[in-house]
Assembly symmetry: C4
Homo-oligomer: 289 residues x 4
Amino acid sequence: MKTIYKNSAATEGLVLAPWREKLNEVIFGSETAAGRNFDLTLIVLIVLSTLVVIVDSVEEFHDRHALILDSLEWLFTLLFSLEYVLRLLCVRQPWLYMRSFYGLVDFLSILPSYVGLFFPGVQYTSVVRILRLLRIFRILKLSVYLNEANLLKTALFNSSKKIMVFLYTVLTLVVICGALMYVIEGKEAGYSSIPVSMYWAIVTLTTVGYGDIAPQTPLGQITASFIMIMGYGIIAVPTGIYGAELIKTVNEANLSNEACPDCGGIGHDIDANFCKYCGHDLGDLPSHH
Amino acid sequence: MKTIYKNSAATEGLVLAPWREKLNEVIFGSETAAGRNFDLTLIVLIVLSTLVVIVDSVEEFHDRHALILDSLEWLFTLLFSLEYVLRLLCVRQPWLYMRSFYGLVDFLSILPSYVGLFFPGVQYTSVVRILRLLRIFRILKLSVYLNEANLLKTALFNSSKKIMVFLYTVLTLVVICGALMYVIEGKEAGYSSIPVSMYWAIVTLTTVGYGDIAPQTPLGQITASFIMIMGYGIIAVPTGIYGAELIKTVNEANLSNEACPDCGGIGHDIDANFCKYCGHDLGDLPSHH
Amino acid sequence: MKTIYKNSAATEGLVLAPWREKLNEVIFGSETAAGRNFDLTLIVLIVLSTLVVIVDSVEEFHDRHALILDSLEWLFTLLFSLEYVLRLLCVRQPWLYMRSFYGLVDFLSILPSYVGLFFPGVQYTSVVRILRLLRIFRILKLSVYLNEANLLKTALFNSSKKIMVFLYTVLTLVVICGALMYVIEGKEAGYSSIPVSMYWAIVTLTTVGYGDIAPQTPLGQITASFIMIMGYGIIAVPTGIYGAELIKTVNEANLSNEACPDCGGIGHDIDANFCKYCGHDLGDLPSHH
Amino acid sequence: MKTIYKNSAATEGLVLAPWREKLNEVIFGSETAAGRNFDLTLIVLIVLSTLVVIVDSVEEFHDRHALILDSLEWLFTLLFSLEYVLRLLCVRQPWLYMRSFYGLVDFLSILPSYVGLFFPGVQYTSVVRILRLLRIFRILKLSVYLNEANLLKTALFNSSKKIMVFLYTVLTLVVICGALMYVIEGKEAGYSSIPVSMYWAIVTLTTVGYGDIAPQTPLGQITASFIMIMGYGIIAVPTGIYGAELIKTVNEANLSNEACPDCGGIGHDIDANFCKYCGHDLGDLPSHH
């Protein structure tokens, strides 16, 4: 994705004016001091503007400090609008940027304030501004946390098929348990329809257990007990899947994948200079130069 | 199981008419384009008919759209009945199919509508139709998710003995904790009998915690605290069991699947140079070059 | 423990009469058909008598079927008393048996009925009879589940020090969080004293969450949020501890602990005949004879 | 940290009087019998004084046994004050001790009683005394549990970056889910502002589920169902992270801790025959005989 915005051999034909090159480095890069300062300022602004949206939703604050909160919101909106325009100016392919995930998030972060200007009656649009929080992930992408996040994502990606199988099984359980409890408990106990019973089954299987709906007949409590013990066992499955995958991913990141040329042994640590099985010098492997 | 329905050397004596062979391929197979389309159509029909049953249980919809929902239900019933007859027609041993798990599920999916026709007063029979959802698992069996599902099942099967020991321990805990709280808290706090107290113990040990019954005396709260901390520790056990088994199962999937050319032994580590059974040099296997 | 009851070289001096030998074999052993039948009968009796105690606690049943339940209870008490006497008769050292864990459980299982005979006013003593359930574990000890249970216990024992450190940390957290919420929320919200607040902290940290006490002030809800996220992270610790230990225990049970005499390599599978590093014949190791 | 208090080559210039040396050994050390007895007495006093603070918070006890509880509290305060003075006397660098974590905890443990003497109106200061509980960790530091605690801490430290990434993701989810439910459910259902909705999101994602706020509209229940299933999957992540790290840490504790005699390299597998850094034959190390 970075190659869309930054100088590379592939987009060499599109030469930007020097000031736009410079701007690109500051806004999209994090190698220069200016780029890092820009990132830091942006994080602070995003967090502050999110706090304003959150605080504004508390009626007490909204009524008492309406002017300050509105002014702050407009300040942030103007700053983010300026940033959006600058981003459009300094990317090689503005249209590609606008349609990218982060381009849309950038746009949605400033839209609500302008919409509110023309349609003051439309409530709740301001809440969309909270999506600004997602923009921090773009900056995070360039940081020291990148490797860790990638490891977690790789493990998640590798276990996604297992998790899909698991989720479909859970969903089937939810539908069947929901239907069962709807028949057993019925409307009096709050299980007024299968969808509501399914909601209860999810609340129970995930061990959240609000207690807004709970079985009241002996038969219902027995059935619910079985469902709970099942949910108890089931919670072990995603943990096992993800844990096993994470261990594999971490291990693979720590092992050299080259065999000893002398004895064929593999599974050497990345920092090993000699084969641990036969003592052969590993220094002449390509990956050691 | 597939060998029951499909052509194989074992059932070669029972030769089907060509059109029934063709039908078998479409209905039970997924190798041909027609078979895959049939599977896809069936999944869509199953999901839609399940949705109709779910929506029908919401009183508001049931009252307002009774005619549409009923018509749809009959449409699905007729389609599934037709499918059931076709399945009977094209399998080699219809009786074996009818008594198989999926044969029964297929039958139970269409039964309630006909029962409702003759005994209109019998409520809730319609809910049995939700078992249709199970039929998707048969189709899933033929898909790319097969391997992942098998891995999860193998790990579950291998850890089943450990889980049985664990479940019996939990059950004993539930009975003893239930009896204890029944004595300590008594009827006033909602612990009206040992079965109800056991229900509370399950709700607590599984960390669901509805709160419909909760200890009220200091002694009861202290006892409940111990039970909760115990439950907290206990939840680690199935996760540990299943996780450890899953890691083992995944690792075994990482064992070389090539047999020793000398003794035919399998299960060698991928980094093994010599057959661990007969000492034969494994270096000349294709996977080692 | 079995050596206490059964014939062994160590207690050869104490020769039992042949009929007592025979009885010992039936009651404490599970190698003979009679022994296995005795075990099975006992399990059935224990489960039935526990069910009677549970059912008896339901007021409705207690009032309506008092005579049947009482008769059944006396029948079980007499049978278990007879069994207790027989056990005393056929063990070599009766006094040692009486003071052992299972000896005490056997005694406590029959005591309440006799106590109730002389002090009919003493309520709840009958609940002690539920301890009978523990007796099944003795029989389980002789079964195919022994190995699995031992594995789970070994892992639990090996991780007990880590779990102690973890439990003390959790307890400190509970006291400090409890004191904090007591100061923040106070009596109005139900946090009437530090012990009650500690009870709330346990309910929250274990993710049970009854909701009988819940924070109501904004500051209390913020503090509770931090406690919950902390509890969320903390639940990973016992699972990680136990899971890691279980994996180690399972692996150790699957590896030979003898080194190859030729190359010194260890970590061979138990069924390996040849060293996987140098191909040396492992057949002449003591454990292979 | 111990080097601050105890004799070592680095602080040899600061020679203490013999009686202060002796005192240092008793108070900070645990090698002598006197030192171990001091530690044990201190643990008992800390636990007792914590119990007094806890019991004192129960109104009933506070009213009835005010005199005893107050006297006990003053006894503990004086004892801990004496201990604090003695610690100051026998450390080489008192100022360094006072500013250290445990120095502050020691000071905060005795402060509230004196503050209460001069400002009797200030409520709740007494609760600060509960921090005394933290002092036990200092003593624990010297015990047999040190290694286990260090293992747990090392694994926690090594996984801290992954956990930070995870926590930021969860926080973003909490804000977005909170805002979403605030829009969907609104004030009537208790979601009176985004902060309150965020509190609900945390209660739900951590599977605590008090039930003080719960979705009531169908759309809210559907959204909540998705959030719960997400939380269900998410709980696997910290467990997986910590479990994987703990397995790695335990395995590393299984690495040979002997240095290669030739190059001084450490971290060899226990089954390594040759130094993986220089190829030196490790067979002549004592642990290989």
